[in-house]
Amino acid sequence: MTAEPSTAQHLFDGVPFEPGAAKNDPILVADGVRRAFGGLVAVDVDHLEVQRGAITALIGPNGAGKTTFFNLLTNFDEPDTGSRLFEGNDLAGVSAYKVANLGMVRTFQLTKSLSKMTVIDNMCLGGTGQTGESFFKALFPFLWRRQEAEITERADALLERFKLSHMRDEFAGTLSGGQRKLLEMARALMVKPNMVMLDEPMAGVNPALKQSLLDHVKGLRDEGMTVLFVEHDMDMVQEISDWVVVMAEGRIIAEGPPESIASNQAVIDAYLGAHHDSALDLEAD
């Protein structure tokens, strides 16, 4: 007996398979977001809604503007024009750290494990609203000791779940690439986010660890979190995403469930080049 494949595709009932489609319950809405670097327009997205409680994949060929768009959504970069609403909060002019406190936390393509801090310190850092993070209160441990114990307990539970407990007191710099990805994901969960943004969670992870990472991402959704991830690995996209958004040349060219994407003509054109299956017409140029 195989378990019922976990999915949240029912959340997309009635949503048309087209770019900019309105979702039933969007957690994140981007509208008219545009970012240019000099003359190069890296991102020019008319409209995107991200469904709450689902795993959405953001894919596209190299240079499609995925990571730039990702930075714009998490406020690590400011768009030239356009608005982003997260749970109804306008993100314009909001610092990146405040976005995290609103409940949207991100990871990075190049893993940012804090090398010279222990794994447990990496985890505890993620706790929000820590009393002991004020300089004056830091001098009086009795003010924050209890909260610190709670945070450490939560961190230990997450390390257990991500199978990193044995590395608890080692420097994060001694972890392997895959373990760092796990640590970064676990650390993001310390923020207690509603939405987790993963920038290429599979990059540089060996196949053995991939499956467990996939299960962890599914686990986030099962706990009610919304996941948006950028990925190149099509196997991962097919296996775990409920909805796929395809970008090319800074624009969103297709949206839909994973099955519909593989056969989408615009997507094939974007990945393989336009007109690859129609006869070349040299006269036209």
């Binding site: 990146a96 940012k112 804090l114 090398s115 801090m117 002991g132 300089f135 001098l139």
Partner: protein, 330 residues
């Protein structure tokens, strides 16, 4: 050879006044660089802020000593940290380095300008502003204390210095074990990661700059109190780099590192000074190699040589751990 004088002088360097103010300055740098990753190449300006804060309050403004302490330890360093930090802390680390080194030179040059004589005493500086401090001196001015190392007034400065230094060590030790210190270390490792976890990296860096600057100001103030004078020449860039040497020697990001570094640095400086001088005087070293007036330069050459050896064989400093250094290369 007068071994008694050699030992006495070395020991004096180990625990005396320069040790105290360079320890304090290096503790501040440790907060900046060791824990937060801020490159401050102008610690001398924070030291000057402490010295001039006190002396200008008393001499120029005619306030009492206690207002001088407030101005020198709190107000001046905080203002400086804001002026230097607001424009640069949002940018890469190198910008702060440039601004701090420029600010420390600007302060020194402005302070010694003759047109400001009325305010800063120009190149002569300000004097006789710490009488209140010495009024509380319980030691007899004529007697020598602590194995005959310090006369009464010096003993008072050194004693208060040790107490202040202990308090600073305690503050650093406590805060670095707290969640506040954890955020600083996270910023040192990767600012964006800290930001992505909801930490206001800019504000934490500003706090670090302020607090490390206040430690530096304490150091500068001790230097001023010890000699009862605040002069621009006391805060040249060399002063900043002596503090850096103390920090690197002892080991960055270790609570005791700067203290050990400063103690060893001044212990060795004093030892070589007296030792070489005695060698010359007793004819062990011929005049053709070195005479008494060259001792000052030669001892810095030896310190330089020592630092080169340290960089090769123990780059993590005396208290640092090799494992942590190795993580940098990954």
């Amino acid at each position: 050879m007068d071994w008694g004088a050699i030992i006495q002088n070395s020991f004096r360097g180990f625990i005396g006044e320069p040790f105290i103010y360079f320890s304090l300055a290096a503790m501040g740098l440790n907060m900046h660089y060791g824990y937060t990753g801020l490159l401050n190449f102008g610690q001398a300006v924070f030291m000057a802020a402490g010295a001039y804060g006190l002396s200008m309050a008393v001499v120029t403004l005619g306030l009492n000593f206690w207002w001088g302490l407030l101005l020198g330890i709190v107000v001046f360093p905080l203002l400086l940290a804001l002026i230097m930090g607001v424009p640069t802390l949002r940018l890469r680390a190198d910008y702060l380095a440039i601004v701090t080194i420029a600010a420390s030179e600007m302060f020194r040059i402005i302070a010694r300008s003759p047109s400001l004589d009325r305010w800063t005493g120009s190149s002569d500086g300000l004097t006789a502003f710490a009488n209140t401090f010495y009024d509380f001196n319980p030691f007899d001015k004529q007697k020598r204390y602590f194995f005959g190392l310090f006369i009464g007034n010096q003993m008072w400065v050194v004693l208060i210095g040790w107490i202040v230094l202990s308090i600073v060590v305690l503050i650093v030790w406590m805060t670095m074990r707290s969640p506040w210190g954890r955020v600083l270390r996270a910023i040192r490792e990767d600012e964006d990661a800290a930001r992505s976890l909801g930490k206001n990296a800019y504000w934490f860096k500003m706090q670090s700059l302020m607090i490390g600057g206040m430690f530096g100001a304490l150091g500068g103030m001790f230097r001023a109190i010890g000699t009862q004078s605040a002069q621009p020449q006391n805060f040249i860039t060399d002063v900043t780099f002596f503090a850096w040497v103390a920090l690197i020697l002892g080991g960055a990001a270790k609570v005791g590192g700067p203290i050990a570094g400063a103690a060893i640095l001044y212990g060795i400086l004093n030892f070589t000074d007296v030792f070489l001088r005695q060698l010359v005087e007793n004819g062990y070293v011929p005049e053709s190699v070195m005479d008494g007036t060259q001792v000052g330069q030669v001892r810095f050459m030896l310190i330089g040589l020592g630092l080169i050896l340290l960089a090769i064989y123990r780059p993590q400093g005396i208290f640092g751990t090799k494992e942590e250094m190795a993580l940098d290369d990954r």
